[in-house]
């Protein structure tokens, strides 16, 4: 570990950017109240925010270069202060950059920078322009805190912070109503995962006596023999948190609704960075997960299930952003599949390439939506390749990478995960088969989307909409991401090609312990695929991708009629897939309705009948008694005098008798 104070600059720039954008936002508000439209001021907020991310990116490059120049594995540390110092429980606030987090840093700041620049064009004219950049910079700050923190508690602060920013940005256009609801849904569903995360952290604290990540990672092997059950439980609880943040399994339901936010938000938060936090968490604590093959198998099963769930649901979506959202859910599932078979670097590789190509696809979709004045329905697009040539070209690159067409980045990263699943064998073979099916679906829906958006006849209203190519500030980031999506595979080529495994080699110091633990726990050697097998798997992946991409493209190249044909063939299945495996309906039936029923019972039976009944009952009783007695009070003074006299006489008689 080397101490480098400059790491704090990484956090400082976005924080300052966020604060200044927020101040500019308030200045804009008061200018607007005074009746002026502060255009120059608004633009300034965007530039300040983008410059802040550029500065952070620069610092990230310096950190990366410092680590890369060192001969052995080097981690940079920047301690700050003791946050909590209570007896044996101590939490230190410190930033750490090692080989794993340096890659994450580059992705967050690099892709973040491109998306900031893109947003300058996309959000132009929006009344909340400055506020948008304040939120976006705050998000980058929180994400960097998540990635850099040396302790699990600091990571959790970032974890919650990105959740907050996600909520704010999903509901950015809250005036429309449903984005605010989508934001709340995301927040509430994430809360479920966060509760699991917290309980897992408490368990880790009990096991290790510290929340320092490197202590936990280093101490795992010592606890494997005696307390493996608790380790597995802690790993599963943390994975529960990862499920919430990374939209896995039953907690995936918030991500498709999160598309209510502005499209750059979908690209940055809900595709490239925040949703990969769960993957990062598992990678960071890889030895903990590796110590328990059964916990790791749960991770893989949930991930693979989610990969199939997302890919099959994306087949029938009409909204272009919903296709991409379900695709993201599915691709994150692939990453967890990779983690579960110990393909640590492959998971990170897919995380990076996914940030490139999915960020690109979202930005491309944003460009399309921008050109069509807010139209998101694929059935009302078509023929856009003539109108948006640059967007079309970059979108093709993204689609090729997502569907895994040979030699693109997505092809190599997905195949590396699937090849390692295949090589692990045993139960992982089942995961491999499901993963291949999901990959086939992926190719199909990707090219269905491309065909519906860019080919065929123009199905939008020509009188209302005149599609035009987006400005350079938007197409610039698209082009850069397109290049990265195409050539990003060079980061980690398969063993049979030259320059292979750069990323795996880079990450080896971080993942070595986890790999050792995993294969010791499984009682086997690390499996090596023969060159022949590897070529076969590469060929198989390419064949499946090409075949289904062609099927998807040709079925929809003329228009969306094929949807009806598919629906007519298997109506029940189509409805099931269209409604995302009826996940929302299941939540309604299993959670929402019972809660509503219980609330109804509490409100009417317990509260209104029980508590209010007791109160009102005593009042009615008092009234009934009073109505019997009221005859005594007839208003005549003489009656009262008579009663008084009678009472006095009674007293006198009683007194004398005694």
């Amino acid at each position: 570990m080397e101490t480098r104070a400059f790491l704090w600059l990484l956090l400082l720039f976005p924080l300052l950017g966020s604060l200044s954008a927020a101040l500019i936002h308030f200045a804009c508000l008061s200018a607007r109240r005074a009746g002026r439209e502060p255009q120059a001021l608004t633009r300034l907020a965007g530039f300040v925010a983008s410059a802040a991310i550029l500065a952070s990116f620069g610092v990230a490059l310096v950190a990366f270069a410092t680590i890369a120049r060192a001969h052995e594995a080097l981690a940079l540390e920047s301690p700050a202060w003791h946050w909590i110092d209570a007896g044996s429980f101590q939490v230190e606030i410190a930033l750490v950059v090692d080989r794993l987090s340096s890659v994450m840093l580059l992705v967050v700041t690099g892709v973040g920078l491109l998306i900031h620049v893109y947003s300058l064009g996309y959000m132009q004219g929006d009344p909340g322009f400055a506020k948008f950049f304040a939120y976006l910079n705050l998000f980058v700050f929180m994400m960097l805190l998540l990635v850099l923190s040396s302790s699990l508690l600091g990571l959790f602060v970032g974890w919650e912070g990105v959740g907050l920013c996600s909520y704010l940005l999903i509901g950015f256009w809250y005036q429309k109503g449903w984005p605010a609801e989508a934001g709340q849904k995301a927040f509430v569903v994430n809360r479920i995962g966060d509760a699991s995360f917290l309980v897992g952290s408490f368990l880790l604290l009990r096991l290790f006596g510290t929340l320092d990540l490197s202590d936990i990672v280093g101490g795992t092997s010592g606890l494997v023999s005696g307390r493996s059950g608790e380790l597995a439980l802690a790993a599963l609880l943390l994975f529960g948190g990862a499920c919430g943040k990374s939209a896995q399994g039953p907690l995936s339901t918030w991500l498709p609704d999160a598309m209510a936010g502005p499209t750059p938000v979908s690209a940055l938060i809900h595709a490239a960075t925040m949703v990969t936090a769960g993957v990062y968490l598992v990678l960071r604590l890889a030895p903990l997960f590796a110590s328990s093959p059964s916990a790791l198998f749960v991770v893989g099963a949930v991930g693979t299930f989610t990969a199939l769930f997302g890919a099959s649901t994306a087949l029938f979506q009409r909204d272009i952003k919903k296709v991409l959202a379900y695709s993201t859910v599915s691709q994150l599932g692939f990453m967890f599949l990779g983690l579960s078979v110990g393909a640590w670097s492959a998971a990170l590789f897919h995380l990076v390439t996914h940030a490139f190509f999915k960020g690109l696809l979202f930005l491309g979709a944003g460009s399309v939506i921008h050109a069509l004045h807010g139209e998101q329905d694929l059935q009302r697009m078509g023929g856009l390749r003539k109108h948006l040539p640059l967007t079309f070209a970059t979108y093709l690159a993204g689609a090729a990478a997502l569907s895994g067409l040979p030699l693109t980045s997505g092809y190599f990263s997905k195949d590396e995960i699937l090849a390692q699943a295949f090589g692990t064998g045993g139960a992982a073979l089942g995961l491999w088969i499901v993963g291949m099916i999901a990959a086939a679906f992926t190719a199909f829906y990707t090219w269905r989307m491309v065909a519906l958006a860019f080919f065929g006849e123009e199905r939008f209203d020509f009188h209302r909409v005149h599609p035009h190519e987006s400005p350079a500030v938007m197409t610039g980031p698209l082009s850069i991401l397109a290049v990265l999506a195409l050539v990003g595979g060079i980061l980690s080529l398969p063993h049979v090609l030259p320059f292979h495994g750069l990323l795996a080699h880079w990450l080896e110091p971080v993942t070595k312990e986890a790999t050792d633990l995993l294969w010791t726990a499984r009682g086997r050697e690390v499996p090596e695929l023969s060159a022949g097998t590897e070529w076969t798997l590469l060929g198989l992946g390419a064949a499946i991708a090409l075949f289904f991409a062609r099927r998807g493209f040709s079925a929809y190249a003329r228009g969306p009629e094929h949807d009806q044909a598919l629906r007519a063939g298997r109506p029940a299945l189509a409805r099931f897939l269209e409604r995302a495996w009826t996940l929302d309906e299941a939540y309604t039936a299993l959670v929402v309705q019972p809660v509503k029923l219980a609330s109804f019972l509490l409100a009417t039976v317990l509260d209104q009948l029980g508590i209010d009944g007791a109160l009102n009952g005593s009042a009615v009783l008092a009234q009934a008694v009073a109505s019997r007695q009221r005859g005594l009070v007839d208003g005549s003074v003489k009656t009262y005098a008579l009663w008084m006299g009678a009472g006095a006489a009674l007293f006198a008689v009683v007194w004398m008798a005694l």
Partner: protein, 107 residues
Amino acid sequence: MKVPTEHVLCLAAILFGLGVLGFLVRRNVILVLASIELMLNAANLSFLAASRHWAGTPGGEPLQGPIFALFVILVAAAEAAVGLALVIALYRLRQTVDLDAANELQG
């Protein structure tokens, strides 16, 4: 010859009974008030009788009864002032001094 205390007390009881009877049967408010005066004076008479009865015995206070009676007369004067004011207020409200006309305040 000294009048026996019993006779004085009997007179006071008769006066008090007349006052009660007058209070209960009369409808004119002024006469009702006069009945109250009658009862108060019956009480005064018994105070004086008791004072005279115990005078000269150990513990007997010769002035206790008269002073009580003086206080009662004082309070009766105040009561008469308030009572007559109420009668005038009632008359303004009802154009009558009939007590049975003022019976709104009932259950």
